[in-house]
Amino acid sequence: MTTFVELDVRPILRAGGEPFEQILNTVNALKPGEGLRLLATFKPTPLLHVLGSKGFTHEAKEIGGGDWEVQFSPSGAPATNAANPAKPATATADDSVWPEPVQHLDNRDLDPPEPMVRIMAATESLAPGEVLSAFLCREPIFLFPELAKRGHSWRGGFESDGTTYKVLVRVNPTKGASA
């Protein structure tokens, strides 16, 4: 039977904060066999992937008022971070702390695929390791493979309003080194 450590990040989210680091610290402090019960103001889809890659399975349920409870249980399977060397830096393989974004784009009112065009153009102008943030009006599913091809990493998810998608893109730290 898994015992769960509870973490309620709703106050942080409601105050406009970013609980990602605290969640990872809590996860890293878990003892073998322990799981995490997370309470959030939205379904934390990106986190599901990140913790999935660390060997956690999850069960998410809506608990009313738009809030979500997610139980992460250790699956016993080893983490699969390094299993796909062809994609060196995607959201699933990178849980380090990122620097503050140096550029912000609001692409919510642009015709597709213009949001993607601007993000790709911006990544070319940033220095290796720098981060850019962008608001979009939907999950940019065609953007991610293009980012992966260039070795950039990303984190993204819907804001608590449920309609704005915020994506952070970190430019490939080794960009230009191989070219």
Binding site: T90, D111, P113, M116, S125, P140, I141, F144, K149
Partner: protein
């Protein structure tokens, strides 16, 4: 959050589908099948299946391999499987058509070609269901538009099962009484499950997502959308399951079809409300040709409902069922299909060619791959042809019908030329067409620069 890459074989499906559409229009313009032949004649069956399987189903499969992943933001289970699937479907269609020609006495070869064709088609659609089913299963819980697709996929399963029963009975493989009953009375269910469930209900689900995406409108998941889903899904379940039961127990199929029909009309009304809302709430004020032409097709869909009601009131539905089916297939489904193809081909080609160099060099916009003022003429001509041909069928004017279909044929050829030009980047300024690092796209498949994802 791995995102979605290009479906490798979608362009092959589109090419095969368009070839079938041209073939069907040539046959109709030449006076083959209905109205020159009887509605149940083998010649008409050849024609109907070239349209329903060759054109509409292959178009839908190709589109689903690309857009189911887009709907659920998860990659396709297998990007390799669609090619053998296509081979299976095409071989099945060919055998089925030869089987119909056997019934007509044109082909005198002795093999049970109808049964062979039905089995191959069943296998092909099973592969489609397996691939898309695994893709959807991995993405649970699913967004509402994909629920429509799931019901559509169940409907193609049901359509195929009915078709297999017909084929086995007609080619003398079985004479089991219940199956013979199904074969003699089940035709309306086969048609409703195919045109209504598989093609229309799936198109509705995909249109919710694509129209919202291309017009910058909010995603719909309110009570009208749920209502449209439940009304439509229960209409289909009632007609398919209830209808089959009624046939086997010798109950009344008419009652089932009437209740199902009312539920279906309610679903259409709710869908209509949603679509009007999508067009009105869009942020993109000036919409592209594909959305304008899709609006015409959606108008045709609404007109179908009106036409059915008027014919019912005058007691003339049965007499004019061919005109109704023609209008559903060409005014609504083909109209929507051609208008969305015009956008999809341009968008996928743009992404394939210029995605890898975005930001590194000057690239054309998606709209630079198309010339809308040239294409619109062919779309207008196409819809004029469809309306005239439907009127000719309603007024029992076979010669006028052939002329109208010839107009549709010319218009379709015109649209195809535009699609090929888009795929060949022929309308892109020479200076922007092929910057360093960009490959000329192939007509029939898409380069995919990512290594194949191993299914898990």
């Amino acid at each position: 959050m791995t995102g979605v890459t290009l479906s490798r074989w979608t362009m092959s499906y589109f090419a095969a589908a368009l070839a079938a559409l041209i073939a069907a229009e040539c046959l109709m313009a030449a006076g083959y099948g209905y109205p020159a032949a009887a509605i149940g004649a083998p010649e008409t069956l050849v024609l109907v299946h070239i349209v329903a399987l060759g054109w509409l189903s292959l178009l839908m499969c190709g589109a689903l391999f690309q857009f189911v992943p887009v709907m659920i933001a998860k990659p396709l289970y297998s990007n390799m499987l669609p090619l053998p699937t296509l081979a299976c479907l095409l071989a099945g269609l060919a055998a089925l058509l030869l089987g119909f020609l056997q019934l007509a006495g044109v082909v005198t070869q002795g093999a049970p070609l109808l049964a062979i064709g039905a089995v191959l088609l069943g296998l092909g659609f099973s592969l489609v269901l397996w691939n898309l089913g695994r893709t959807l299963w991995a993405a649970r819980p699913l967004p509402l538009p994909s629920h429509f697709v799931i019901v559509g996929l169940c409907s193609i399963g049901a359509t195929a099962i009915f078709g297999i029963v017909f084929a086995f009975v007609l080619s003398g493989v079985t004479a089991y009484p219940h199956l013979v009953d199904v074969a003699t009375m089940g035709l309306p269910i086969h048609i409703i499950a195919g045109l209504g469930g598989w093609l229309t209900f799936t198109a509705i689900g995909v249109s919710y997502r694509l129209l919202a995406m291309f017009m910058l409108a909010p995603e719909l998941k309110g009570p009208t959308t749920r209502g449209a889903f439940y009304a439509g899904a229960s209409a289909l379940a009632l007609i398919i399951i209830g209808g089959a039961t009624a046939i086997c127990l010798h109950g009344s199929l008419t009652v089932i079809l009437s209740i199902g029909g009312l539920l279906g009309l309610a679903a259409m009304a709710l869908y209509g409300t949603d679509i009007l809302h999508l067009y009105r709430a869009r942020k993109r004020r000036k919409i592209e040709l594909n959305s304008r032409m899709a609006a015409v097709a959606l108008g045709n869909f609404a007109a179908t409902a009106a036409l059915i009601i008027i014919l019912l009131v005058f007691g003339a539905l049965e007499r004019n069922i061919a005109a109704v089916v023609f209008f559903v297939a060409f005014g609504w489904l083909s109209g929507l299909g051609l208008s969305k193809l015009y956008k999809i081909v341009a968008f996928l080609t743009w992404l394939e060619c210029y995605g890898p160099v975005l930001g590194k060099t000057a690239t054309p916009r998606v709209q630079d791959l198309v010339v809308e003022h040239r294409a619109i003429r062919w779309f207008v001509l196409y819809f004029l042809g469809v309306w005239s041909a439907t009127a000719a069928l309603l007024l029992a004017q076979p010669s006028a019908f052939r002329v109208a279909v010839a107009v549709m044929l010319v218009a379709t050829a015109g649209i195809i030329v535009q699609l090929v030009r888009t795929r060949r980047l022929a309308d892109v300024q020479a200076a922007l067409r092929l910057p360093a690092g960009v490959r000329q796209p192939r007509l029939l498949f898409s380069w995919n620069n990512l290594p194949e994802r191993k299914p898990t």
